[in-house]
């Protein structure tokens, strides 16, 4: 079979393979890897992108030392951690709950799933803008509904530094819970029926079935969903940039928002490149450890 195929004219398979892969590789190297190396190089200098004539000096690890020694950066990291942890917890719980409910096959199931999924397909920046309207302390629908159930009087979700970190958690959860839901649902649907039938024969209670069959089967799927969400939310920029733009003060200044301020408002290119490298290494490190743990759980 193979030899019969090979006899025919044209380029060799090996040549075709490289011709097909090359454009993708070249583009990724030019627009992703080269900028990354460029950023790493700049992170060792005192370069300012807005001061063109200025001499660029090599400063060694100074930028890195400055960042890691700065209390402010740890504050940003804490703000980011607060955001990432709460969104993951809420999206895991609500998403799994919804998936369990949707898995009970009822009429209109597919239509409802599609409608519930809508928020996550929207542009995060535009979502950020229209939530500023919903959160408006004078005329916002969100504030009206909350006050309808319990009268807090006038409160400002975006303007108050205690509420603002929660305002971004709420919007992100609203937007991305369908993501965990959809993936968990796929996990639930992959459980073969005979497992439950066998459990019925063994007189296992519904609760036992849930703990010993449902949960272990859906867990790898949930963990995968959380990996995606974790990475995305650690880099979170667009939604929060439009919703609170890091404010009030720096109450919601996530790592990426801070990075944008340093790089594109203060133009500290060298310094912000070092911060970008630190963020990237953190994501990559966390991601790798997480995948290892996830695979161990899967193998068990």
């Amino acid at each position: 079979m193979k030899s019969a195929v090979k006899k025919f004219k044209g380029l060799s398979d090996k040549a075709i393979a490289w011709i097909f892969i090359a454009p993708t590789l070249i583009l990724l190297l030019a627009i992703n890897i080269y900028p990354l190396i460029y950023a790493i190089r700049m992170s060792f200098t005192n370069f300012y992108a807005n001061k063109i004539g200025r001499e660029v000096k090599f400063v060694g690890l100074k930028n890195y030392k400055k960042i890691l020694g700065k209390e402010e950066i740890w504050e940003k990291m804490q703000i980011t951690a607060h955001f990432v942890c709460w969104t993951l917890v809420l999206q895991a719980l609500i998403g799994l709950g919804l998936a369990l409910l949707l898995n009970k096959k009822f009429k209109g199931n597919e239509l409802l799933t599609t409608l519930i999924v809508l928020p996550m397909m929207l542009s995060p920046a535009v979502v950020g803008v229209f939530w500023t309207y919903l959160y408006n302390p004078q005329v916002g629908l969100f504030n009206y509904v909350v006050n309808f159930f319990y009268d807090f009087g006038i409160f400002d979700m975006i303007g108050s530094s205690t509420l603002a970190p929660w305002s971004i958690v709420i919007v992100d959860t609203w937007m991305w819970t369908p993501f965990t839901m959809l993936i968990c649902l796929a996990g639930l649907r992959s459980i073969p029926n005979y497992l439950y039938e066998a459990a019925e024969v063994d007189r296992a209670s519904k609760w036992q079935q849930f703990i010993h069959i449902t949960l272990p089967s859906v867990l790898p799927f949930l963990l995968l969903a959380l990996l995606f969400r974790g990475i995305e939310n650690f880099k979170m920029f667009d939604l929060v940039a439009e919703l609170t733009s890091g404010g009030p003060g720096s109450a919601t200044e996530l790592a990426s928002i801070n990075l944008k301020r340093e790089a594109f408002e203060k133009w500290k290119t060298g310094y912000s490149s070092a911060f970008a490298v630190i963020l990237f290494v953190t994501i990559f490190g966390f991601g790798n450890v997480y995948v290892k743990v996830m695979n161990k759980i899967k193998d068990r």
Binding site: I21, L36, V126, Y196, L259, V277, L279
Partner: protein, 315 residues
């Protein structure tokens, strides 16, 4: 397909009804913010800032008129000296004691979104399907590492590479141009398109091309005439995903474009009226911007899961 055995997925009537009720309640609540924005786009400026929020209101196209035009406030005697308005929208603007001074930037921004979105989608799907085919069919050295490398480019925070790209583009003259943004979005989408399309192509039996090649097709012909038509559904789904991602992208757009190639997401927040944000106009912009995505989502519903997990989870 009839399965009469009982399992948790075919629970008793009551628990199924309860589940359906909770899901419907969640669906209604979760769609309120979106419906509210659509409703706001049909309110008048005054009605949008009334409290308590108006659920029932007299529909108005003021938001849409404001979205598409620039206006300026004029004194009453000047307005009276003008000839009567020719069109309904001019009349509407006049009734607010203003005159239309010209079209707004919304349409150019919207068409930028379309041009850049379609351009990037075309190139990322085209290049992606070539690479995906090679990775799916041929023995490529270090294949797994290559695939992981392609995926890992997604882990960079966009802001991290934005600075070097900003400097690079400034040197190459690609800053704030359509070409520059198309190249950038193509690259951003490549990882997704390669991973998704490789999954779809893995599912097409090799026997098809092999049979075609025995019939005298070259490998290239077999790829273009046999594999690509077989992969149409997968390619369409991938294309829609790439389109949605480029359509929604904000970080690069806000940092790298200003005038010429600015897309709609960084523009919509800047719509302002007199004394604060013009909510009906923002609502109108949002509505027009979100409609295509909502239609796409409905079209895509069978492939959603695959798309959002880069093909890691298939149904």
């Amino acid at each position: 397909m009839m399965d009469t055995s009982r399992s948790p997925s075919e629970a008793s009537g009551f628990s199924r009804k309860l589940a359906a009720t909770i899901i419907i309640v969640y669906m209604v609540v979760t769609l309120i913010p979106i419906s509210w924005m659509v409703a706001t786009s049909f309110k008048s400026v005054d009605s949008a800032i009334s409290y308590p929020p108006e659920v029932f209101f007299e529909p108005s196209l003021e938001g849409y008129v404001n979205l598409f035009t620039n206006r300026s406030r004029q004194p009453k005697d000047y307005l009276d000296s003008l000839p009567p308005p020719d069109t309904w929208y001019e009349e509407l603007v006049r009734s607010r004691e203003m005159v239309i001074t010209g079209p707004s930037k919304f349409l150019p921004r919207y068409s930028n979104s379309l041009i850049i979105g379609f351009g990037a989608t075309f190139f990322s799907v085209f290049l992606g399907s070539l690479a995906a085919y090679a990775l799916s069919r041929f023995r490529v050295p270090l294949k797994d590492d290559l695939l992981f490398f392609i995926l890992s480019t997604r882990m960079f925070p966009p802001i991290a590479v934005a600075v070097p790209i900003f400097i690079m583009y400034r040197k190459l003259g690609l800053g704030d141009t359509h070409v520059g943004m198309i190249i950038l979005y193509t690259v951003v989408n490549l990882s997704l398109s390669v991973w998704l399309l490789k999954g779809f192509m893995d599912e097409i039996p090799r026997e098809y091309e092999e049979a075609a090649m025995i019939d005298g097709y070259s490998r290239m012909q077999a790829f273009f005439k046999v594999v690509l038509p077989q992969a149409t559904t997968g390619i369409a789904a991938t294309a829609i995903f790439c389109m949605i991602f480029s359509w929604n992208e904000y970080a690069f757009a806000v940092l790298l474009t200003q005038f010429n190639a600015q897309t709609a997401p960084p523009f919509i927040p800047t719509i302002i009226g007199e004394g604060g944000l013009d909510w009906p106009a923002i609502g109108a912009g949002t509505t027009l911007f979100l409609i295509p995505v909502m239609i796409f989502t409905v079209v895509l519903r069978k492939h959603l899961l695959r798309g959002i997990t880069f093909g890691a989870v298939r149904k």
